[in-house]
C-alpha cells in the first residue's frame, strides 16, 4: 500500500495527523521492518523526529524522558547511569541510535527490556490525544486507543535498582528472561520474557517486603515470581526453559551471580 510520511513539528500537529490508517513512527526499528517487508494497511507514518519530544530532564529526584529520546541518548546520560546495563542489553548500538524510549513500550516480549525496567520503576507515561493529555501506567500503554501518542515517561530515581537479562548470546539478542527490581520498603519487581507483556510480580514483591534480603529470601522471591509468569515458547527459548530459569535469574538479579 502506498504510504505518506508526515513530519509534524509539535505534539498538537502529531495528534492532528493521526487520522485513519496513520500510525506513529518514532525510531522506526519496530515499524519500518513491517512496512518494508510485510503486507500492511498503514497509509501514513507520522514521524516524531521533529516534534520536539527528545530530551532528558532531571529535577527533584524525578526523571522525565521525552518519548522520542533514543536509547543511545539514555545510555550516554551520566545522570541515568543506573539504566546503562538495561540500555546496553538491548539490540546493537546502530539500532539504539534510532530506537526510542516511547517506542520500546510498544514492543512485544521478548523485546522491550526498557519497558520492563520502566514497569519496575513504576513509571508514569504521559500521552496526548484528541481529548487532551493525560498519564497512565506502563502496563496500560498498549491499550491506548488509536490517535494517541506517548509524549514522555516519568519516574522517581531509585535508591537501589537491580537488573539482569538472560540471552542466547552476550550481545544483541532477545530476552530469555529479563528481571528488573527496585528495592526498598516497597519493593517492585518486573519480568520480561515471562509473558507477551512485561509483568509485575506481586507475589515476589510480597516476599521481598516481608524481611531482609538474603539468599533464602531471594530464592523464595524467584519461586514466587514463577506464580505470576506466563512463559511462552519462541525461537529463543521454550516456555519450559523460561520457567525453569526464571527463579535463578530473579535470584541473580537480587543478590548477584556468585551468591
Amino acid at each position: 500500500m502506498p504510504i505518506t510520511v508526515e513530519t509534524p513539528e509539535s505534539v498538537a500537529d502529531v495528534v492532528g495527523a493521526l487520522g485513519d490508517g496513520a500510525i506513529v513512527l518514532a525510531g522506526g526499528t519496530h515499524v519500518m521492518p513491517r512496512i518494508n517487508t510485510e503486507p500492511h494497511d498503514v497509509s501514513a507514518l507520522v514521524s516524531l523526529r521533529r516534534a520536539g519530544l527528545a530530551g532528558i530532564d532531571l529535577a527533584e529526584g524525578e526523571a522525565t524522558i521525552g518519548a522520542a529520546t533514543t536509547l543511545a541518548q539514555v545510555g550516554a546520560d551520566a545522570r541515568l547511569a543506573f539504566l546503562r546495563p538495561v540500555i546496553e542489553s538491548i539490540a546493537s548500538p546502530t539500532i539504539r541510535n534510532l530506537a526510542t524510549v516511547g517506542g520500546n513500550l510498544f514492543v512485544e516480549q521478548p523485546y522491550g527490556d526498557l519497558a520492563v525496567a520502566l514497569l519496575a520503576l513504576d513509571a508514569q507515561v504521559d500521552v496526548a490525544g484528541p481529548g487532551g493529555s493525560g498519564s497512565l501506567g506502563v502496563a496500560d500503554v498498549t491499550g491506548l486507543p488509536a490517535g494517541h501518542v506517548v509524549t514522555a515517561v516519568r519516574f522517581a530515581l531509585p535508591a537501589e535498582f537491580r537488573y539482569t537479562k538472560a540471552m542466547r548470546r552476550r550481545l544483541n539478542s532477545a530476552s530469555i528472561v529479563t528481571v528488573a527490581a527496585v528495592l526498598g520498603p516497597e519493593p517492585r519487581l518486573a519480568l520480561g520474557g515471562a509473558g507477551r507483556k512485561p509483568i509485575r510480580s506481586a507475589s515476589a514483591e510480597a516476599v521481598l517486603a516481608a524481611g531482609p534480603l538474603d539468599r533464602e529470601r531471594a530464592d523464595a522471591a524467584g519461586r514466587a515470581a514463577l506464580e505470576d509468569a506466563e512463559p511462552f515458547t519462541d525461537a529463543y527459548a521454550s516456555a519450559w526453559y523460561r520457567g525453569r530459569v526464571l527463579p535463578v535469574h530473579v535470584r541473580r538479579a537480587l543478590i548477584g551471580e556468585a551468591a
Binding site: 502506498p2 504510504i3 505518506t4 510520511v5 513530519t7 513512527l25 525510531g27 522506526g28 526499528t29 519500518m32 521492518p33 512496512i35 518494508n36 517487508t37 507514518l45 514521524s47 523526529r49 521533529r50 543511545a72 546496553e88 539490540a91 546493537s92 548500538p93 546502530t94 539500532i95 541510535n97 534510532l98 550481545l171 544483541n172
Partner: protein, 161 residues
C-alpha cells in the same frame, strides 16, 4: 501523494533529491543518488549491511524514511576513501587482513567501525565486538573483522603520533 524535495549533505557534498512518499534513506542513496555501497540485506534492521552515518551516528538506513531527515548529514562508504581514491586506514586494514570474503557485509562493517574509531580511537577487542554487534557476517567470521578494526585503530594512532 507528492514526491518531496529533500536536501542532504552526503559525503560532504550538498545533494538535492526528489523522494516519492515512503522512500527509505537506503533507497534514496542507492536508487536516486547512485551510491550503492550500502546494501539492502534484510530490510528489517537485523543485518546491518545498510549501515551509514546519519549526523555522525551509525544507523540502519533501511529503517529511516528519508522525508524525516531533510537537512541531515549522511556519510556512506563512498565518502570514506581519500579524494585521490586512496583507501583509508579501516579499508586498508580490511583488505590486508582478509576481513572481506563475499563483501556483502563489508560496507556496513566499515561504517560501524568508522563510527567507533571516531569516538574511541583506541578501542578494546570488546569495544569492537559491541560496535559491530548489529552487523552480521556469514562468511569471513568475526575474528578477522575485529582484528582488522583493531589494526586500523593502531594504524591511525601511529599516523597521528
Amino acid at each position: 501523494m507528492r514526491s518531496r524535495v529533500i536536501e542532504l549533505t552526503v559525503n560532504d557534498e550538498p545533494r538535492e533529491l526528489l523522494a516519492p512518499p515512503g522512500t527509505t534513506l537506503l533507497a534514496a542513496l542507492r536508487e536516486t543518488l547512485g551510491l550503492t555501497a550500502a546494501k539492502r540485506g534484510c530490510a528489517q534492521g537485523a543485518c546491518g549491511t545498510c549501515t551509514v552515518l546519519l549526523d555522525g551516528e551509525p544507523v540502519m538506513s533501511c529503517l529511516v524514511p528519508v522525508e524525516t531527515i531533510d537537512g541531515a548529514t549522511v556519510q556512506t562508504l563512498e565518502g570514506v576513501a581519500g579524494p585521490d581514491g586512496g583507501l583509508d586506514a579501516v579499508q586498508a586494514a580490511f583488505l590486508e587482513g582478509f576481513a572481506t570474503q563475499c563483501g556483502f557485509c563489508t560496507s556496513g562493517m566499515i561504517m560501524a567501525a568508522e563510527a567507533l574509531l571516531a569516538t574511541n580511537p583506541e578501542p578494546t577487542r570488546d569495544d569492537v565486538a559491541r560496535a559491530i554487534s548489529g552487523n552480521v557476517c556469514r562468511c569471513t567470521g568475526y575474528e578477522s573483522i575485529i582484528n582488522a578494526v583493531l589494526d586500523a585503530a593502531t594504524r591511525r594512532t601511529a599516523a597521528v603520533s
